[in-house]
Symmetry: C2
Subunit: 347 residues, 2 copies
């Protein structure tokens, strides 16, 4: 399998699942791990990073997890390649600036990825379509065990897993859920919800995780605390909280429909009309219209588009994906043109 093969198929996690798929897009579990006796990547010499990279690659090969997938060295990747991986949510934003002797392993269905020598020696990520927190956590755990059998993790009895950044020390676990909350946003309740979540110890971020803004009503909620709580507690707390948010969004949707159904239908159908016919679509507008159509699908206003089509577009209409598809760097106008063209073909 080669990098470009990723473009030929859809990541497994974009398939809508489990009944709440119009509100919960996907679930992600990430474990930060480091190899004992080696300095963290940020403090390691090139030689040390090289050793760790080689070691982990060997270990991953032994686990056979990536037998049908890819193990890529950052050096072999162009910036566009890295952006492509970022848009597919396989690597972090930091991976775009990553140094040599780093890389990423990706499973064939793209539900498992492991960054090597990013902030930590290992960042194990499992991503799942819909609201499947426990399933994703179980898979991550099994991978963690498989690797742990073959390599000694940096671990302190007092602190738990040791990580490069203090915020990850302990369980090294970050679990996050990508939510689509148009009704809470439109009824003006999203901001107070975000404040409340932060006070309760959850992190709230935009579409593409850390450092990105919430737009198109998409929001990522994850645990903030990794220390002093068990992994099971983290998962259980987040699961409970997301269930609450989903209920809130459902209630807000039905209230919104009762109070302003026609305005809502108008917004949804206009977004559909624009997506169907526009000749230029910038990223921000695209995400906003995609959000409106998603809302329309979830509220059964619109029936001639399905969630999967929108989920696919939310990856394939991203800048690096469009450029990779066209085989060249695109100017702003060209990018908007190619995006509109793709969207017209699909909607």
């Amino acid at each position: 399998m080669k990098l470009l093969d990723l473009l030929k198929r859809d990541p497994d996690w974009i398939y809508p699942r489990d009944g709440a798929e119009d509100i919960v897009l996907s679930t992600r579990v990430r474990l930060a791990r480091n190899v004992a006796l080696f300095p963290f990547p940020g403090r390691a010499t090139d030689a040390e990073r090289k050793d760790v990279f080689r070691l982990i690659k060997e270990v991953l090969k032994e686990t056979k997890i990536f037998d049908n997938g890819l193990i890529l060295s950052a050096e072999d990747l162009t910036l566009l390649d890295k952006e492509l991986l970022f848009e597919r949510r396989l690597v972090s934003k930091e991976f775009l600036r990553i140094k040599k002797f780093s890389g990423v392993a990706i499973s064939a269905d793209e539900t498992i990825s492991i960054m090597i020598n990013e902030e930590d020696h290992l960042r194990i990520q499992v991503i799942s379509g819909g609201f499947e927190l426990h399933r994703a956590f179980d898979i991550a755990n099994k991978i963690d065990d498989k690797i742990g059998e073959r390599v000694k993790y940096a671990f302190s009895k007092r602190w738990g897993y040791l990580t490069s950044c203090l915020t990850n020390v302990g369980t090294g676990l970050r679990a996050s859920v990508l939510l689509h909350l148009p009704a809470l946003n439109q009824t003006g309740k999203l901001h107070s919800l975000m404040d409340k979540l932060r006070k309760e110890g959850f992190a709230v971020r935009g579409f593409f995780g850390e450092g990105t803004k919430a737009y198109g009503n998409f929001l990522q909620v994850s645990n903030q605390i990794t220390l002093g709580v068990s992994e099971e507690e983290i998962i259980r707390n987040l699961y409970q909280k997301v269930k609450e948010i989903v209920e809130k969004e459902k209630n807000a949707r039905s209230r919104l429909y009762d109070e302003a159904g026609l305005e809502l239908e108008n917004t949804v159908w206009r977004a559909y009309g624009i997506m169907k016919f526009a000749r230029l679509l910038n990223l921000r507008d695209f995400v906003n219209y995609a959000s409106a159509i998603r809302t329309g699908i979830g509220m059964q206003i619109i029936k001639n588009v399905d969630l999967l089509t929108i989920n696919k577009l939310l990856i394939e209409a991203m800048p690096a994906h469009l450029m990779k598809k066209c085989g060249k760097t695109l100017e702003k106008d060209e990018e908007d043109y190619e995006r509109a063209k793709l969207v017209r073909e699909r909607i």
Copy 2:
């Protein structure tokens, strides 16, 4: 024929004609006339207005011009009826507030209308689709003659035809052309053109004539001066000027297409998408989107809608028309809903 029969057929002047129909929507010629020895309507007593009204109705019946049409008394019309006539461009905005012993005569094809006891005893109007200034003027002249044979007009050898308002004294002739100038507007040249036209003695107005704003790139240009020039000169000057403007707009369109063809296509197709799917359309947005689609038709960007469809909508999607169709007064939201519904059915 009854008033409501007007809604069953289209005015003859909405049919696109003569090659410049994507730029010139219609041409209108109006003659202001008064009956000698009677005071102008604004100064007349009820008894005098009644006499004039009766006299003119008799005269019009003799001319047989309105045999298949309508001769309506303002007293028999509701405000909604009058607004309907205004939207069909058969009466002036002032007609909405008209007193008793006034009325309007309308030919079956709606190209000829005569307001009685509005600002003047007679306002003879001929409206024609496309750029047909001479034809409209010829018809108006013939009607003027037919009436002039039967009634003595207030006329002074020195001043010409005497009218209620000084600005109409002389020929009593106002000729106007309704233009659609999106490219001149978009390239920022419309305002300087409007200033220039005003300096050259032309009046420039919005979509619905006097006192209305220019929106949706629609503009009415008419002669300002009625005194000291012959009728033929007025017609010839306006004709020449409009030909110039049409050329300017054509050039601006082709430059615009060369420089920003994709942006233009994007605007046109987005307008089409919104009109095709919106559930609510307010009047201003509707006129703007109609303008964009009209531009697209004129520039052959869009081929699945024709000018006639848009011309029809520009009458039938007006507030009074929607209310008359629904048989009741509509709230703002209901009006926008009915407009969007009608537009969806047609586009």
